[in-house]
Structure formats: C-alpha cells, structure tokens
Subunit: 328 residues, 2 copies
Amino acid sequence: GVSQDIDHILEIQSALAVDLGGTNLRVSIVSKAGEIMHMMSKPTPSDNTARMESLLTLLVDASQIATKLNCRVLGVGVSTGGRVNPHEGLVMHSTKSLEGWSAIDLRTPISSALHLPVWVDNDGNCAALGERKFGHGKGKEDFLAIATGTGIGGGLVLNGRLVHGSNFCAAELGHIAVSIDGPACMCGSSGCVEAYSSGLALMREAKKLHQAGELIVDGMKIDTNEIISAKHLIQAAKLGNKKAEKIIHLGGEALGTAVISILHLLNPTLVVLCGVLAPTYVDIVRETIENKALPSARGVKVQVSLLKEPALMGAASLVLEYATRRIY
Amino acid sequence: GVSQDIDHILEIQSALAVDLGGTNLRVSIVSKAGEIMHMMSKPTPSDNTARMESLLTLLVDASQIATKLNCRVLGVGVSTGGRVNPHEGLVMHSTKSLEGWSAIDLRTPISSALHLPVWVDNDGNCAALGERKFGHGKGKEDFLAIATGTGIGGGLVLNGRLVHGSNFCAAELGHIAVSIDGPACMCGSSGCVEAYSSGLALMREAKKLHQAGELIVDGMKIDTNEIISAKHLIQAAKLGNKKAEKIIHLGGEALGTAVISILHLLNPTLVVLCGVLAPTYVDIVRETIENKALPSARGVKVQVSLLKEPALMGAASLVLEYATRRIY
Ligand SMILES: [Ca+2]
Ligand SMILES: [Ca+2]
Ligand SMILES: [Zn+2]
Ligand SMILES: [Zn+2]
C-alpha cells in the first residue's frame, strides 16, 4: 500500500557498529549521515565464549530495533582491541585488556547470525577511519589519528589508505619508544609512550602520589572506597598540585616525542588526537613539537577530535563505505 | 663505417652520478648494470659558488671521459645532503655539514651545462633507491634503508614508492627521538638517535674518553696530531676497552630503539643498514629488536648493505630508471 512505499522511501541506510573494548562492549545503529540512532552497552565478559554470545545477542537485538527505526542495515562493522587481519575478519592477538581474545574469527559467526556482510578492524585504525569519514581527516590524503584512553593506539592514513603493515601491526603507536630505558610497559618492553601517557600510566602515578599522601589538594574530595585514576590526577593538577601537573606534563611530552618521531619519519600534514586524554595533552604536544621538531616538520596541524565516538564511527564507515561500493 | 656501428652496439647506457656530502664531492660514471666505470673525488668546497663550480667542472670532465669509455650518458643523478624537492631538482635546506646549501637549484645549471636531464634527491633517499635497484631491496614493496655515517639518514619505500612527505622531510631518521631528554643534537633538539649513534656522536664520546686518558688500551697507538674519531672508539672496543664498548652498545641500542618505533608504526619486512657503522651496529640492533619489539614486529629482517656506495647507486638509479621510462 501507499504507507509501505513511503516507509521504503524514508528508509535510512545504516550500519550496525560494534566497539569492543576491555571495559565495555557496545553496539549501535549509525546512519549514513553519521548519526547514532541507537546505542546499547554491556560490560565486556571476560571469557571468549561469553564475549561472543553477548556480542551476537546485542547485534540481533540491534537489528530488530533498526527495523523498528526504519533503518536499513547494510552490514556490521566491528572495532576491536587487538591486532586484526581485516581481510579475514579475524582478531589475531590481543593485549592483556582483552585476555584470550586471540585467533577469533568474528566475521563467520556474525555473518551467519545476521545474514549481513561483516568488516573488522582494530580500534586505533577505526578511529582513523572515523576521522576520515566524519572528522578532521575528511579529504586528507595523509594523516595520523592517535587514540588515547586506557592505552594508546592509533591509525595511519597514507595516500588515502589505511596502513596495515606487513603482518597487520602498523600504527601500534602505543609502543613507539620514547626512552631507551624508561618505565616498563604492558607489552614487555620499556620506555614505550604508553608507559608514560596512557590512562593506565597516569593511574599508576596517581596511586603512587596518593599513597605518599600527595595527591589530594584543597577543593578535592576522594571517597575511601573510590579507585584512584587518571581523572583524579588531572583534577589535582587543575587545582594547582605541582607534582600532578609534572606527571601530566611528562605524559604529554612523551606523546609529543612519539609524534615528532612520526613527523620525522612520514611528514604528514595532520595529527588528530582522539579519546579522553586528548584535551589534556593537546597543548603540551603542540609545545613539544614547537620546541623539538625539525623546523620543516613544525607546520603539522595537531587537532583534538570533534567526534564523540571516533572508533565507533570508523566501524560504521567500514560498512557505509564498502557496502555501497559492493566490495567485500 | 663498420667500426662506428660496432661502437654504437657496444655503447654502455650509463648515468653520471653525484654524491655531494659534507666532506667530499664525488662524481662517477655508473653503467646500467650497476658498475662504477669511473670515479672522481674532491673535497667539498665550503661556499656555494665554489661548490657549484667544482660540481660542474667535474661533471663536464666526467662526461668527456664517458665518451672515451664508450658510455652513453642518459642523464645526471645527484645525491646531496639536505632536504630536497625532487620535482624541482632543488635543495631546500641543509644542516650544518653543508653550511649555506639552501634554496639551491641544481637542475637548471647542470642541465644547461651538460644538455642532459637531471634528477636530485637527498642522500638517505638515494641510499634506499640504490638498495631497491641493486641491493637487498630488489623486488621489495616496503622497506627502510638507514644510512649511517657522520650523521644518520635514511629513506623509506612504501608500496614500492619512496615516501617524500608533505614538505619533503620524510625519513629524517636521524631525528627520531629515542629519549625525552638525552644529549643535544645538531638540529637543535635533544635525544635524537643521531645524538647517540652517528659518527659525530661516537667521535664526541671518543674525545671525552681520550681526554680522560681512558681511550687507549694495549695494542693501540694514536699519533699526537691524529684527530680522535669513531674509528678509534671501535678499535678500542675490539681490543677490550669496556667503556668504549659500552658507548658503542648505547649507540646501537639507540639505533635499535629508533628502528622499533618504525616497526611499530609501519611494520615493514626489511631494514637495510648502510654506511660505515652498519657492521658495528647490526647485531646490537637485532638484539634490541629481539628484546623490546612487539612479538608481531620481531619478524623483520635486518641486513647490512652489500653495496659499496648505496647513495651513489641510488643517484644513478634515478637516471637509469627514469630516463628509460621517459618520465621527467
Ligand atoms: Ca592501529
Ligand atoms: Ca631522507
Ligand atoms: Zn609497550
Ligand atoms: Zn636531531
């Protein structure tokens, strides 16, 4: 009838986008225009079977909600922690925040359950893709996205294409070395930028400071059962705690130092800082570049992402870009 | 006549290849097969006018010798220190070792004097091109060449093409940061790999050691008027000087640390170490990668260049590759 035809005309081309992190598993419906139409979230289960079950359940639910919202789902895009083979839709290996999440074929079970094409990439790469489709990276041929959060990740676009590397571990930005010695990193090495600049690194330092009774300053209140985190360190620094300020400055300087190495290696025009720590670090990163990069590399633009969810947007863009091109 | 025809048949397609470094200015005739048919060398004059005159004189001489050697010169390829715009054949800016060598159009005067097409690129990039045409990089899509010498330079091949960067300062490998603080570098920054691993850095440390009376060990003899250099440090280390050994190890570790950052950023399959310090550093670089790179990045091959003159060979390859393709 007439109303059905109108429904069809009003259908919104959409993607189911998954963000699979160490803390939360989130599934959303993202429209072609980049609008998050619906979002569901669960704590990430700690074993693989439960993780996969939760993921499939959320996706099936999301797909039903999509129908109700008159969204036509073109496919599923997954952003996940870990090293990913995007050709095969496979998580090859993960770090400790996603324990056991290795050699996991995501494409086959999702595709079987939903009868939709499935794309998978790592969260840092997805952040770069999100920036390219909806953010500062639009129309840019060469840029770098840095994802700050619990860890440090990122993605690199060169000549308009994501660089995956010979065995899919390019843009492992968190493990760019900024010190020959330096603090131990979760990866087993030491002196990685992640060991200075990540949320976990700041948490580690915040805890040390708190144990020494040097974290809390006037205007701060921490409950006894509260878990000390990067958030408290940032708050303390803002309230004038010089030691907290110094730790954050070192984190930003380490990130800036890693960025300089990238500038000197690839000389891109743009670096986009994403994630919760981006506003904290951006000025220190700019200052470090100004002080220490080669004059010819200083022209780079460093911008804070304007996207609320770059990785999720990137996961959606995997679908929205590829599904409409009919390239699987 | 008959002899002329035979001459023509026996003509060797060749390039005039220039290597313009801080110490020596060298011009050679390189055959298509990669043989150095003739080589001329002069100390590099310290002012621009004299430099250009010497260069043109040597090139005119070389071109006459080429005729005598029955070499048909297809063009001139120049490897020079400094940042280069290869599209315009222009040296944009140089470091202190080629003082004043900035905003120098090399293509126009050479092309006018010799009536030949002219290609120019920076020495690190030329080393990578030399490896690609005649060395370990043959047939490789993604690899990195590191040039060790007075400074540290290099070139990066991705998807079969040299990466020049948005304003021609990609692969400024010497100024990859390996320390947030670290020793001062000639570029004005600090903690650059060049400040640890270059010939100049080793020279600086050798002089310090010598002044403290701790350089010379049994089996070594240094004349009073001899200039202390990296060579002496390496000799001392080989003869069991533990302090010299430690300095060299730190140099190698710093270079390995820079390589790890590159592996984690780009995940190439091959790194070629070129230049005089390559044999000294190769094992330490491999060991550093083994100890500190992500497991997924450790598979990279690190090889010492087998070419005597990678940069010169790369300068020749600019001619031999492009002239026969008729792309200017
Ligand atoms: Ca990545
Ligand atoms: Ca270079
Ligand atoms: Zn690490
Ligand atoms: Zn430097």
